[in-house]
């Protein structure tokens, strides 16, 4: 086992991460009636919208303060104010997230000051303008995501009376995954506030009339009451404390925190279910027991096929850890584990898992696809698991890719991929197993022919001769 940090190199060749403000847009899309404006030049926001729209197949409206040359030289206050005016007029939102770009941060815009002045001048009282400082160079999209959730919670949370609901904070999962988590919570009959909830807003049903801001999302009033919750379950075990919304609620309001991994794989899902059992005081519903049993059945049915897998896993640390665990449980042993982001607590967690493991695994942090490719070849990886940019491994090295995470822009249905809970894990495993099988069926006739028949023939000729 060895690990590498690549953040001192001079060129990033084929990036494995996106920038901070892009990640910060996502949670805002999971809060009711919310809109985002990005303070900076027009291009950044357009690129991010394009990137997100391609994954979810949903319109992604995000405003920009459209800084031009003048604004860049003399300060962008006027642009931001005008942008807020127009955005509020066009969309009539209930909350506005104000993010920054590299440009705004570099020219030293004081967004905090501008927005509080704005609220006063427009007599908007305590309208929730949530500022998040997200210089693209300051972190990856993962950091932007959690920081945005934390800032939102910090802005809206009020000291409230204790109540019995629990907070559930989710990372960048698919809308289908969020729906599955909600289903499980309902099975335990617990009341909850799930944040951010983009299960409807970023995967909306076809309906008329079209709404510019989709319905759904976590209610602002529910976020306000998060401090009174009985507990917080945060699926963010790799997340650094300083950007952790769950830690914030614990430190500020004393809400007990259960910081869990994404419930993928049997062990991680069990952890989630145990906490629910404990918090709700209810037994595990029988139907859920049966789902677990079916997962075990699937694991046994597929174990020999899965054992053929040598996996390369990449993406956001939280997802990478979850996939890693699932692969370890099923013998799809990881040979390269990589993230383009800062790893947070991921490395430590992975090391713990590998205490008694004797295989060779390579960790790559803040890496790019050039590194991932190099290591994957060296390690003879035969299956890749991660977002669409990994298609490059297929094209160049013939390593098949099981698409998972964000973004998935060269296939449809990224928003509908289900991978959490016992049911989701079963479906995820089937995708893995079937990819391994397909690869095998595609090649085994030829490889056996090459390996044995050719030899036989040569030997035959020698005998004759």
């Amino acid at each position: 086992m060895d690990k590498e940090t690549e953040n001192c190199r001079n060129v990033n060749e084929n990036p494995c991460n996106m920038c901070m403000p892009m990640g910060a847009i996502l949670p805002f899309k999971g809060v009711e009636q919310s809109m985002v404006i990005i303070h900076g030049s027009q291009g950044c926001s357009t690129y991010m919208r394009r990137h997100i729209a391609e994954h979810f197949n949903e319109p992604i409206d995000v405003a920009s303060s459209s800084l031009n040359e003048k604004g860049t030289i003399y300060g962008g206050e006027a642009s931001l104010i005008k942008g807020l005016d127009n955005l509020i007029k066009l969309y009539n939102p209930g909350l506005v997230g104000v993010l920054t770009t590299c440009l705004a941060e570099t020219i030293g815009e004081d967004v905090e000051r501008i927005t509080s002045k704005y609220l006063k001048e427009r007599e908007l009282g305590d309208f929730p303008l949530v500022t998040v400082s997200t210089p693209g160079y300051g972190g990856a999209h993962t950091d932007g995501y959690f920081l945005a959730v934390k800032r939102m919670v910090a802005r809206l949370a009020k000291k409230t009376e204790k109540h019995s609901r629990i907070n559930v904070i989710v990372p960048n999962l698919s809308p289908a995954d969020i729906r599955e988590i909600k289903r499980i919570l309902h099975m335990f009959k617990v009341e909850f506030t799930l944040c951010p909830d983009f299960s409807d807003t970023l995967d909306r049903p076809f309906e008329r009339p079209y709404k510019k801001i989709p319905g759904g999302g976590t209610k602002l009033s529910d976020i306000a009451e998060m401090p009174g919750a009985a507990a917080t379950i945060q699926m963010g075990i790799t997340v650094d404390d300083d950007i952790s919304p769950g830690r914030y609620l614990e430190a500020e309001f004393g809400v007990p925190l259960y910081n869990l991994p994404v419930p993928m794989g049997i062990e991680n899902t069990d952890l989630f279910i145990d906490v629910l059992k404990q918090l709700s005081g209810n037994k595990v519903p029988e139907s859920l027991e049966r789902e677990r049993g079916r997962l075990l059945d699937c694991m046994i049915d597929s174990h020999k096929y899965n054992f053929q897998g040598r996996s390369v896993i990449f993406g956001e640390p939280e997802n990478v850890y979850a996939i890693f665990k699932t692969c370890m449980e099923n013998g799809v042993y990881p040979v390269v584990v990589a993230t383009g982001s800062k790893p947070g607590k991921m490395i430590e967690l992975l090391n713990n898992e590998l205490n008694n493991y004797r295989g060779e695994v390579h960790f790559l942090n803040e890496t790019d696809f050039a590194q991932i490719r190099k290591k994957s070849i060296r390690m003879n990886a035969n299956i890749a698991i991660g977002h669409s940019d990994g298609r490059y491994l297929t094209e160049r090295e013939g390593i098949p890719l099981v698409r998972h995470g964000f973004p998935i822009h060269d296939r449809v249905g990224g928003q509908r991929l289900l991978s959490v809970g016992y049911v989701g894990t079963t479906m995820f495993l089937d995708r893995i197993t079937n990819t391994l099988l397909e690869n095998k069926y595609n090649s085994y006739r030829n490889s056996m022919y090459q390996k044995y028949y050719k030899k036989l023939k040569v030997a035959g000729q020698q005998l004759q001769g």
Binding site: P15, M18, I60, S66, N68, E69, K82, T106, Y137, F206
Partner: protein, 453 residues
């Protein structure tokens, strides 16, 4: 204001946007365009860097190095469908991945080291170094770093001044053209001209479109020297001064380069369009006429006859099926918009709404000539306006890019992808059929039966 009123006032609208929206036949004043986007209006526009990258990206054997933070490079990694007959290096995304400390202390040294590393690893003849927004602010001297690197390695290292905030996509086209001019170099002026040899400007070889046109030219007895920039390379681009004619398709991005080449290398240019049967035939004739060679003219007519025979029946049959449908157009540049109006009329479809991100005044004037009374024309539109006018005008389909697609679908409207990542050619005679088929496949899909109104 008038347009909004005529069309029925929307629930909300932004006063400053009024002059950017017209209804044909209703206004005396000129449409406002070629202006900065209005803050907060959710413009669909991209940046200078995007424009520059569009134009230069198809140069296949170049290293495209984005000097800036990671995002700008991340969102543009291999997102375009330009094909190559040779090198594949252009499909990689290289970034100096500037971090906080680089922003504070400057990125020049890192850039120089990045170039060294890339030269060592890939041994390229040409590196384009793109400036992103913050590079313009932290004051890196791109020019100097590139010059030093070029000298050190004996290759071309060309800076592209594409800082995002200095304008919009059009400014990026210009920055790209400047970079291309530097590549061709002033000494090429003395190159002897080859007769019957053309450069083809403004085709990025999406789904092999340059190859399609190159084949036509060949059948006419004309040599395609190099395309700007589809399937081009450092060496082929450098020979550009050899051609005796430039034909220009995507005028928005390339007219500047054509004019400059006329000025510097004495190469005249013709505007052409290979979108639609009629425009394709007309453009080929125009090229033939330019050379005035009877053999060429004869061969051209033969080619047109053969191709039109092969395809016009199919286009006609789609026309029958599509007659009476109404289209909305929202694309990047004016050239594309104009071509689309014509292509739609070939298949019997009226255009009821048309807009662009960065169309020029002259282009909007042509558009205004082409469309029917009552058609809404708009510059730098936002989703609110697109939604409003598509619904109001009863559009059956929208032509646009990736960001517009989900909006159309949510409104229950058919959609045509007319962007740089498409996987089928829309140019030439064959392209005209592809276009008709794509329109048919989306407008006449059975799925619309189930969504009600």
């Amino acid at each position: 204001m008038i347009a909004m009123k005529e069309a029925g006032l929307p629930d909300v609208f932004i006063k400053e946007r009024e002059d950017f929206i017209h209804t044909k036949g209703k206004q005396k004043k000129q449409l406002k365009c070629e202006n900065d986007s209005v803050a907060g209006c959710v413009s669909q526009r991209a940046c200078v860097y995007c424009g520059a990258r569009v134009v230069l990206n198809p140069v296949t054997d170049a290293v495209h190095l984005v000097h800036g933070p990671i995002g700008c490079a991340s969102y543009t990694w291999d997102i375009r469908g330009s094909l190559s007959s040779g090198a594949e290096l252009y499909r990689f995304s290289f970034s100096t991945d500037l971090k906080e400390e680089d922003v504070i202390f400057g990125g020049e040294k890192k850039l120089a080291r990045a170039i060294d590393e890339l030269v060592l690893k890939y041994n390229p003849k040409l590196i384009f170094v793109y400036a992103t927004c913050i590079v313009g602010v932290i004051g890196d001297d791109l020019e100097a770093v590139c010059k030093a690197a070029a000298r050190k390695h004996g290759i071309k290292v060309i800076p592209v001044q594409s800082s995002g905030f200095i304008g919009n996509k059009s400014a990026g086209y210009r920055a790209a053209c400047d970079a291309l001019l530097r590549l061709i170099g002033p000494t090429s002026r003395n190159e002897t001209k080859e007769s019957k040899c053309v450069n083809y400007l403004g085709d990025f070889n999406l789904a092999g479109e340059v190859w399609i046109i190159g084949n036509y030219l060949k059948q006419m007895g004309i040599k395609l020297n190099v395309a700007f920039t589809g399937d081009s390379s450092c060496e082929t681009l450098k020979t550009a001064a050899r051609a005796s004619l430039n034909i220009v398709q995507c005028a928005g991005s390339m007219i500047y380069l054509a004019e400059k080449m006329d000025e510097i290398y004495d190469i005249p240019y013709l505007n052409v369009s290979f979108l639609g049967l009629e425009d394709t035939a007309e453009s080929l004739r125009k090229i033939a006429r330019f050379f005035g060679d009877l053999k060429i003219i004869h061969k051209t007519e033969e080619l047109i006859k053969k191709e039109v025979n092969a395809y016009s029946g199919t286009v006609q049959s789609y026309r029958e099926k599509l007659k009476g449908k109404k289209a909305a157009i929202y694309v990047g540049g004016g050239f594309k918009a104009i071509s689309l109006v014509k292509q739609f009329s070939e298949i019997g479809i009226d255009v009821v709404m048309i807009g662009t991100q960065t169309g020029r005044q002259e282009e909007y004037e042509i558009i205004n000539e082409l469309v029917d009374e009552g058609t809404v024309i708009l510059d730098d539109a936002n989703p609110t306006e697109l939604e409003k006018f598509m619904v109001e005008k009863g559009a059956h389909l929208l032509v646009g890019g990736v960001k517009e697609r989900p909006l159309a679908y949510k409104l229950g409207i058919a959609f045509i992808d007319h962007n740089h990542d498409r996987k089928h050619p829309l140019s030439g005679f064959a392209g005209a059929v592809n276009f008709a088929r794509e329109v048919y496949s989306t407008v006449c899909s059975p799925v619309w039966k189930y969504i009600g109104t």
